[in-house]
Symmetry: C2
Subunit: 426 residues, 2 copies
Amino acid sequence: MMDKNIPHIVIIGCGFGGLEAAKALAGKPVRITLIDRCNHHLFQPLLYQVATAGLSGPSIAAPIRHIFRRQLNVTVLMGEVTAIHPDRRCISVEGTDDIAYDHLIVAAGATHSYFGNDAWAAHAPGLKTLEDAFAIRRRVLLAFEHAERETDGERRRAWLTFTVIGAGATGVELAGTLAEISRHTLQGEFRRFDSRAARVLLLEGGERVLPVFPAGLSEKARQQLEKLGVEVRTGARVTSVDEAGVTLTESAGTSRIASRTVMWAAGVAASPLGQTLGAALDRAGRVMVQPDLSLPGHPEIFVIGDLAHIDCNGKPVPGVSPAAKQMGRCAARNILARLEGRATRAFSYIDYGSLATIGRKSAVALLGKVQLSGIPAWLTWLFAHIYFLIGFRNRIIVMIDWAWAYFSFQRYARIVIGAWKNARPL
Amino acid sequence: MMDKNIPHIVIIGCGFGGLEAAKALAGKPVRITLIDRCNHHLFQPLLYQVATAGLSGPSIAAPIRHIFRRQLNVTVLMGEVTAIHPDRRCISVEGTDDIAYDHLIVAAGATHSYFGNDAWAAHAPGLKTLEDAFAIRRRVLLAFEHAERETDGERRRAWLTFTVIGAGATGVELAGTLAEISRHTLQGEFRRFDSRAARVLLLEGGERVLPVFPAGLSEKARQQLEKLGVEVRTGARVTSVDEAGVTLTESAGTSRIASRTVMWAAGVAASPLGQTLGAALDRAGRVMVQPDLSLPGHPEIFVIGDLAHIDCNGKPVPGVSPAAKQMGRCAARNILARLEGRATRAFSYIDYGSLATIGRKSAVALLGKVQLSGIPAWLTWLFAHIYFLIGFRNRIIVMIDWAWAYFSFQRYARIVIGAWKNARPL
């Protein structure tokens, strides 16, 4: 047990923001309690690879307490934080006593948003956690198994129709990879249908795919998706999702798609924990923070990552991992400044660029003013992601997995856990 | 679709027996339907490594339809066979039409047996499937997390007490690996206790561990287990298992062990599918087959692997993977003999030896009359298991995983899927 007189910093969440904040406090005279609902830090940018059976879960996840085993000022706890009490300077944790803090960093992230249609969640899972990724992998692989069992042509078509809702980075990655799986990975493995006949739809309510990219790169991305075999439909607003498919409204009218496998990549909402802070929230539920990332009226509380709303250079900082990491380091520095009686400093976001992968040798990249697409963008994406993967060993394994997948067109992790009778309903 | 006049062979189960049978029929003028409740063939001898976080699931599992992608006379179906109807020559499959056969190979394997105490299953999971392995991994890792959250010393002890019931190969492997995890892998990662203080008990009702080995090797195995830190208690009969621990009766009397994590490795029972065959069963529910592995009165049905009871050289053939593979090839040959109007041949079992691993550099091996223990046995075990792992790529990945684990004392797959709030009750 550490000296109780040493300032106690509680960090909620060990995503990119919380992880960087705790690391930035290594060797400092503070005691840190890092609490997360999971036992692992997740390399979320590669989560779609787990969902599409390209990587196993442990390849992109590292046990939090292993990361901090040598940083002795960190105590890692696994648990669910249910509320923050700024007035009493403590947090509530499910199943255990409240935990008091001197400084608090809230890095609780974001979750899916179904824009008020929460009933859709059962039919169209989102992709934020390893659990989500395994649920999507299971649905996709079992849909092909259902198709092989099915004798009726129309019902088989519905099992072989995959719909991704939302054409941001996650939606584009999922749709592109699903098209590759049906056209290459599974080709020749079924006796009652040709897997290449599977239909992959990417539905987007807005005017173009990857709306955060310049219009030229959006168009390039669309061309690459269509080349892979994805049906891209922009200006398509989903009005209902159920077990049998989706209904959508386009300029041409309303239509129905019979699709047994639907995935949700359309919206995120900030963690509900933000609501317990008593501060102003933006429309997505993100906490409006001060320039130094602290909570208005509570200089001892910092909110970072996807849960924080802050403007830099006249634009909101995007919910991406480099931004979360930068905020984590900034919050740690500002806590140290307060402890040493110095003034805190305003957060400033350095934008290194944007990358989105589409499939084999297909990607788009925006690096400053440089726009890349195709193979150069894909190589940039590949090396950036391997470089940033936590832990040296994971990097090697992921590289081997990818090299093997690249040359063989195969995917490593095509495993459904559990037996058929537990597999229904999907 | 293949010619309906070609003989139709249905194989139930794609463990070692069913897999070998289907492979042995490659290129033959038959059509094969291979049906399994899972989408993967599992390399069961390494399942304890998945349960103890050393390997990821996909490392020891291969999609069945991928294995048979080029063997065009095989149709793979995922499904649950609910009954066999020898009189009508068909099988019932949950959720679809009955499937008729000309020849049938039943390779449905075995499951855990709690000897009539089925309520124990909820508190002491067994280890037969990937699902089981993930359930055990989750319990073990979460027990340490509970211990770090716990403030009461006695309750923490119960979280840090791990009990394995049954000292056959699986029980010995689990107990040895758990001791290594607490003494090496997790050392220094917790702030509120020393993981090396965790207690691992191995309870065995019989007189010695690994009863299928000669007494001298059993004693060597016991010594190696104790050196790793496992408390071995033989002659200890478990009389109750509940959420809080186990009660056992020894010659010294009845005692109670407070243990929140209990694993079952004490008994197996043959698949209940054997009961629908209308043939005589042994005490473990295995089907008494003819010398050529066929069902008495039904020469078109063969029963193989852990579901079959057959004596060779005056002893029952053991329920191990080499025996299942040999039976699979024998059943396939005998079906071909019948199709060609030749007489079937009796099964003869070739025993290549027995291996059991205990931990790092610890194992016992019986190869003919040669008895090995310690490092020589462990190296034999290591190379045999890597050699027999299905699929070239998996072998490489498993070797890298193991080399890394060996030199770093770390374990790759220490990931609990899902959040804390879904983690309780365990």
